[in-house]
Amino acid sequence: MSQDDGLPGAAGGHDGDDDVHTLIGAYALDAVDDVERARVERHLAGCPACAEELRSFTETAGLLGSAVATAPPAGMRAAVLAEVSRTRQLPPVAAGPAPGGRVAGGGAGIRSASRATRWLAAAASVLLLACVGLGSLAWTYRQQVDQARATAAGMSQVLADPDAMMEADFTTAGHGTMVVSGQRFMLVASDLPDLPGGQVYKLWFIDEEGPRPSVPLRRQDDGRYLAETDGFRPGDQVAITVEADPDTQVPQGDVVMQASA
């Protein structure tokens, strides 16, 4: 537990499991930065003991919150209820136990069979797109975009038996169409701004354990961008960021597209 003792505030920088164990308490109190948060969440996936300890800490932290309960201002209730009545909700996920971990980011998760079933059940129809908070991204649900459909039809010929097709707008400019079949994932994006020297659009798959790096989008001769990979897992959310380092293992840059089913 003392690998990084010494100077106050010294950056430990050790990546061993020992170090991560000691971060569980800080994590439960949100006293970690984003990089440490990601490390802990990856660790939780494989450490039931830490996940269970975290669960008890999270309950405890919740009581710390309740301890300082203070009546909100008079107008807040009505304002919240009014906003709620015009706010769309995230659809329910398929039921499946996810032992341990914190909901707000990660933790151990077993991708249950019912999750995959739900995914497959959405086959061949354009899906309702849900915004999943890595920030506030604007979404458009499109049904009749001829170019996108033509693209999707073309892609689905490449992938026999697509499970699902999704379309998404990028926050910059541009539009992407994605097709999934099992673990095979294809994306074609058009009208994306070209990136300055060395930067790439990088694909990520996100599950309860956090984001997993995938391939960079490859620019085609006609200006469209293409990504194909076998790294998709049913239930994953999909995101694209702009990265200066194509090999980065954690998302560093801005999110320009996000999708889930």
């Binding site: 430990g12 800080a26 109190l29 269970e52 301890a67 309960a69 329910p92």
Partner: protein
Amino acid sequence: MGTVSILRPGRRTAPGSPATSATALDAASGDPLADLLHRTSLGDEDAFAALYDAVASSVYGMILRVLRDPAQTEEVAQEVMVDLWRQASRYDPQRGSARAWMLTIAHRRAVDRVRSAQSSSDREDRAGRLGQDREFDEVAEAVETRMEAQQVRRALQVLTDLQREAVTLAYYGGYTHREVSELLEVPLGTVKTRLRDGLIRLRDEMGVGA
């Protein structure tokens, strides 16, 4: 509670008492808030209103502790409550109580806000001016006289001064453990230990189930 509650006919909500907001069916579950959250996830706005009455004070009060500014607090607290409506379906009972889940979301949002809104030098100034003792005293003053609050305040006393100081700075101050290490001028590992040991003591003192 200080708010004007518009009660719909036939429904009684008692602010701050989640138990009385639960219907007979809900009471069958061990966690009435979880049932309200579940109904909320299905679009039940009445259930959400009851949920609001049960947790808004905790959400608001905790965010106020972290942000200190009432105007910003109201903004963030409102965002959090609406976000609880939006992502109610994401709650997984396997991971803990509904209250802990909701307060986790609120705390995370408050911490993100305070870290992005203030430069690090500002935050060190703030901590320096207040001193760690005063930070805790302000926490104690803000506590309502409710049984749960009393229990937590008593539990906090069970911690060593050093543990309480670290936990207070981290949770109520929104500082990272590195920032706490710099503020207190102790090694990083020491802070991590104090936070973890402090949580263990609090947990055991308050009888939080495994």
